[in-house]
C-alpha cells in the first residue's frame, strides 16, 4: 500500500480521539493488515489485526438477544422485589413501634406499680418505725451470726491450744 506513514499517523491519532469515520477505520485496518507497521505503531497494528481476525465485533452473536432479555428480566425481578421494600419498611416500623410500646408499657407500668406499692406507709413516722425495727432485726440477727462465729473461733482456738499443749 502506498499510504504514507504520516497520513496513517494522523488517522491513528484521529482514531484514538474517536473522530474517524468507518471508512477511515477500514483504511487503517487494511493498512495494518498488509504493511509492516513502523515500530511506534506496533500497538495499533496488533489492535487492528485483531479486529480483522475477529468478526465477532461486527455481527451480533446469536445468543445476544437471549442474553439481553435474560439480563432485563433479572433486573425486573430485582425491581419486583424492590416494590415490596416500602412494605418491608412499614413492617419494620410496626415492629419497632410495638417493641417500643411494650418496653414503654413495662417501664411505665413498673413505675406506676411501684408507685402504688412503693411506699407501704404514707406516714413517714410509721415508715421510720418500721425501718428502725428492720434495722434492729438485721442487727440482732447479724450479731447472733457473728456470735456463733466467735464461738466457733474460740472453739478452734481451744483446739489449737489443746494441739499445742499435747504434743
Amino acid at each position: 500500500m502506498l499510504m504514507e506513514s504520516t497520513t496513517i499517523r494522523e488517522l491513528v491519532e484521529k482514531y484514538w480521539n474517536g473522530e474517524t469515520s468507518l471508512e477511515e477505520e477500514a483504511q487503517l485496518q487494511q493498512y495494518f493488515s498488509q504493511e509492516e507497521a513502523p515500530a511506534d505503531l506496533k500497538k495499533e497494528a496488533t489492535l487492528f489485526r485483531y479486529y480483522q481476525s475477529n468478526t465477532r465485533f461486527r455481527t451480533l452473536d446469536e445468543r445476544f438477544d437471549e442474553q439481553l432479555t435474560q439480563r432485563i428480566e433479572r433486573k425486573q425481578s430485582r425491581q419486583r422485589w424492590l416494590t415490596y421494600q416500602p412494605l418491608l419498611r412499614i413492617a419494620a416500623a410496626i415492629v419497632f413501634v410495638v417493641l417500643a410500646a411494650i418496653l414503654f408499657r413495662t417501664e411505665w407500668m413498673g413505675e406506676t406499680n411501684s408507685v402504688a406499692v412503693k411506699d407501704t406507709y404514707e406516714d413517714p413516722r410509721l415508715a421510720y418505725e418500721q425501718t428502725k425495727e428492720a434495722l434492729l432485726l438485721v442487727s440482732s440477727l447479724m450479731n447472733e451470726g457473728t456470735q456463733h462465729m466467735q464461738e466457733l473461733e474460740t472453739f478452734s482456738e481451744a483446739q489449737e491450744t489443746v494441739k499445742t499443749q499435747i504434743p
Binding site: F96, A127, S140, T146
Partner: protein, 178 residues
C-alpha cells in the same frame, strides 16, 4: 435501616436488663405482690428523705438514727405462717446467689437458716440482702444506700434482743402500728 433496628432492639434489651438488675429481690416481690400470706414493706428513698425532719436527739438511738440516715431504700417480704417456707428460702437463696453479690455469712441455727449477702463498691456496702428461712417463716429483706456493718451491728448491742423471737412478732408489730 436494619442495622438501626438491631441497634435499637439491643439497646432496649440492655435497658430491660439494667432495669431487672435494679433490685435483686424485685422478682420475689413481684411474685408475692398479691399474696395475702406475706407482709410486704417498701420504703423508698423519698420516704427516707422525710425522716430527717423528725430524727430524735436521743443518744441511745444515735447509732440507729445515723444508720437510717444513710439508707436509701428498704424492702421487706415476710411471712410467719407459710407451710413451705424452706423452699421459699431455697428459691430466694438461689436467686440472690445468681446476682453479683457477695456472701457475708450464712448461718444455720437450729431450724433456722440465715443468709446475708452484700454488694460492695469501692469499700462501701451499697446493698444488703438478708434471707431468713425457718419451719414456717420466711423473711427477705433488702437494704440499700450506704451500709455500715459495724454501725448496724452496734444498734442491737445496747439492747438485748433475741432476733429470732423478735422476728416471730414482726407481723404483729407491723399491724399494731397501722
Amino acid at each position: 435501616m436494619k442495622r438501626l433496628l438491631i441497634i435499637v432492639i439491643a439497646m432496649q434489651l440492655v435497658a430491660i436488663g439494667v432495669n431487672a438488675q435494679d433490685n435483686i429481690l424485685a422478682p420475689l416481690f413481684d411474685k408475692f405482690a398479691d399474696d395475702e400470706d406475706f407482709t410486704k414493706v417498701t420504703i423508698t428513698s423519698k420516704m427516707f428523705s422525710l425522716f430527717t425532719e423528725f430524727e430524735p436527739e436521743d443518744p441511745e438511738t444515735q447509732e440507729l438514727t445515723e444508720a437510717i440516715s444513710k439508707l436509701k431504700g428498704l424492702k421487706i417480704l415476710a411471712s410467719d405462717s407459710i407451710g413451705n417456707a424452706r423452699s421459699y428460702f431455697k428459691d430466694a437463696t438461689a436467686q440472690v446467689r445468681k446476682g453479683n453479690m457477695e456472701e457475708l455469712m450464712s448461718i444455720r441455727d437450729g431450724k433456722d437458716d440465715m443468709l446475708f449477702m452484700i454488694k460492695e463498691e469501692a469499700g462501701k456496702i451499697s446493698d444488703l440482702v438478708m434471707l431468713v428461712g425457718g419451719e414456717n417463716k420466711f423473711v427477705a429483706m433488702s437494704l440499700y444506700g450506704e451500709i455500715d456493718l459495724k454501725q448496724i451491728s452496734k444498734i442491737s448491742k445496747g439492747m438485748k434482743i433475741d432476733g429470732m423471737k423478735y422476728l416471730e412478732n414482726i407481723d404483729n408489730e407491723g399491724d399494731d402500728q397501722e
